[in-house]
């Protein structure tokens, strides 16, 4: 919102509501025209994109910090998956990683520090477009280096990091947005200075850039949405083929896997309720298969709630907070912007339009408030 208001001087007059909107029966060409207008001119779900940025930036930062004691074992030159093995595999698979460029320990520590900084800057939304590319490079590099230590959560974070480079995920809830806001309130009317040819051309280039940014963003969000649908759809449909999901005992086996049982007492307690286990099995499959089909109606809210509960359960019972976190953030992409706007207003009732002198405090408050949002927002 802020960004758009800030850009308003460049944009001309408010839209005149077109007649096509008023009449209920719209012809196909009109629909296509309206679709193309939205596609090329209006980046959709900017708040959801921001939530994805904040969520995955934070998640990766926490992950890197959590593995701090094991960083050398996972990504470093001292890993049992030696740099030599990694390079050998890259030759076969076509992967690449900044981490295998050198085997020296200081180089690795530098890369690790760079990854921490990149994740933090991405989370804060500082120079987001450039930093998002850096973030994708970091995530891909770390993923490729330790490819045999990754799981579904890492895989999803990698895909999202790549897709997010396409989106305008820094337009909301970011340092970039704050800068734009300040610049707008500081220097108004700077743009209508001269009507020289160069200015004209620059303006048109800016228009082209805006169109491309919007298209790229919308395509990125579409790909993200499709990706999450494929994830759930295939997870569900592959489960349907398994007998244990059908007879309602699958979760019994899951609860008894030693590596995914951080709280054995809790797992045992859950395992005792076989009816509950069966119900949870069916619900899991049902919700996963249904996911792609409920997204276009109100039914998506209960389904997203069930998924949130499911992922919280997985996070605690199975000790997979990274995986669950990645899934919860992906689900949050499907909540509408009006939800996030309302949330933002509730979380930050004052200070949004604070004068520049107070902005430092506002920013700090904002930074402290922003991280928990992905989790809260999905409720």
């Amino acid at each position: 919102m802020e960004t758009e208001q800030a850009l308003a001087p460049h944009r001309g007059v408010p839209r005149i509501p077109d007649g096509a909107d008023a009449g209920p029966p719209r012809r196909v060409p009109e629909r296509i025209g309206a679709f193309l207008t939205v596609l090329t001119e209006r980046p959709v779900s900017l708040y959801a994109a921001a939530v994805l940025r904040i969520g995955y930036g934070l998640l990766y930062l926490v992950f890197l910090l959590r593995e701090f004691p094991h960083r050398d074992e996972i990504w470093g030159p001292g890993s049992p998956w030696t740099p030599e093995l990694a390079r050998q595999l890259f030759d076969q698979t076509g992967w690449a990683s900044i981490l295998t460029l050198s085997d020296s320990r200081p180089y690795f520590e530098t890369c690790y520090a760079l990854a921490l900084v990149t994740s933090a800057l991405f989370l804060l939304g500082w120079r987001t477009r450039v930093v998002s590319v850096l973030f994708a490079v970091v995530v891909a590099s770390f993923h490729a280096r330790a490819i045999f230590m990754t799981d579904g959560g890492d895989n999803l974070i990698l895909l999202m990091a790549i897709y997010l480079t396409l989106t305008a995920c820094g337009r909301r809830w970011s340092l970039d947005a704050r800068r734009t806001r300040r610049r707008a309130s500081a220097g108004k009317g700077k743009s209508n200075s001269a009507d020289s040819g160069a200015d004209d051309l620059r303006h048109q280039l800016a228009m082209s850039r805006r169109t491309l940014t919007a298209v790229l963003h919308n395509c990125g969000m579409f790909v993200i949405a499709a990706q999450v649908c494929f994830l759930y759809g295939s997870a569900g449909l592959y489960k349907v083929q398994g007998g244990s999901w059908g007879n309602g005992t699958a979760l019994h086996y899951v609860l008894n896997l030693d590596l995914f049982r951080p709280w054995p007492e809790l797992s045992l307690l859950a395992d005792e309720h076989d009816v509950l286990i069966a119900v949870a099995c069916y619900l899991t499959v049902l919700v996963q298969v249904a996911f792609p089909f409920v997204l276009f109606g109100r039914l998506k809210y209960p389904v997203l709630t069930v998924l949130l509960g499911m992922h919280l359960g997985i996070a605690v019972l199975m000790g997979l907070p990274l995986f669950s976190g990645a899934m919860i953030i992906a689900d949050a992409a499907f909540l509408p912007d009006r939800f996030y706007r309302a949330l933002g207003q509730r979380l930050r009732p004052v200070g949004r339009w604070a004068p520049v002198g107070e902005a430092e405090a506002t920013a700090r408050g904002g930074a402290a408030l922003v991280p928990p949002q992905p989790t809260q927002s999905s409720q």
């Binding site: 460049h10 004691p69 082209s208 579409f222 086996y253």
Partner: protein, 259 residues
């Protein structure tokens, strides 16, 4: 769509003002019936300085081409990822080369999470070491429980490390994939997995004060998870072993450990 419309009431005429007078085939197709409105919008308002000229045709065409390219890429990407994720079918078989070329390595994915059936076994992987002393005596150590290190690391940890949950587990499953039932490596990948497993075992034993050794041997005990008290067994009963199985792997030379 409706939401976005509410969000930015002023977002659209930018296209209209500049393009109202350009007669490009692309334009008339793209804008469809919105054109009339946009034209009206452009006339009823005062075009600001610098905005009155239409954009260069080249720029316009370039932008349109880029838009089309973005759309096409997104659609093709989604289609190829779908074919990659879906079970093998005639379409994905026919286009497997294209799918693989696009998807690997960056977009590789597998969402068979606990599917079709979750694992119904726990694996206890242990290792022992062999050391030949200078006077030619061979000393073999006792078994060291590698999985036990993981299990105790996972226990009562809110955020277990990947080194505990994934390292040994995935190393062993990849070894199984590349070797199958016997322990003769048939591919370069199989050799790599053998080296990886050796390294993991050697590192862990060294970390726990294993002394000097030249080779390691692994032992994998597969313990089936009991079926629920009164319930049926695991779905694919053929795949699930009914009793404890123990597999001894050959002795593997270790390169630079404990020296």
């Amino acid at each position: 769509m409706r939401e976005a419309r509410m969000e930015s009431p002023g977002g659209d005429v930018l296209g209209g003002i500049e393009t109202a007078d350009v007669d490009e085939p692309d334009q008339s197709r793209d804008r469809g019936d919105d054109r009339g409105d946009d034209r009206r919008g452009g006339r009823t308002t005062h075009p600001r300085q610098g905005l009155s000229k239409p954009p260069p045709v080249l720029l316009k065409a370039g932008t349109s081409a880029a838009v089309a390219l973005c759309l096409a890429t997104a659609l093709v990407h989604v289609l190829l990822v779908f074919l990659h994720v879906a079970p093998p079918n005639p379409l994905s078989r026919q286009y497997s080369r294209q799918v693989n070329a696009w998807v690997f390595p960056l977009f590789e994915q597998n969402w068979r999470l606990f599917a079709p059936d979750p694992e119904s076994v726990n694996r206890q992987i242990s290792a022992r070491t062999m050391h030949t002393t200078q006077d030619g005596k061979v000393r073999v150590s006792g078994w060291f429980d590698l999985s036990g290190v993981d299990d105790s690391a996972v226990r009562h940890d809110v955020f277990p490390s990947h080194t505990a949950q994934n390292m040994l587990r995935r190393a062993w499953s990849s070894y199984l994939e590349t070797h199958g039932g016997d322990d003769r490596p048939r591919s370069e990948r199989a050799l790599m997995m053998q080296k990886y497993l050796t390294d993991i075992a050697a590192d862990r034993i060294t970390d726990h004060g294993g002394g000097t050794f030249e080779s390691v041997q692994l032992r994998v005990i597969t313990v089936p998870i009991a079926a629920p008290a009164e319930g049926p067994g695991p779905g694919s009963s053929a795949a699930a072993p009914k009793s404890v199985e123990t597999r001894y792997l050959p002795w593997w030379k270790v390169t630079s450990h404990g020296n």
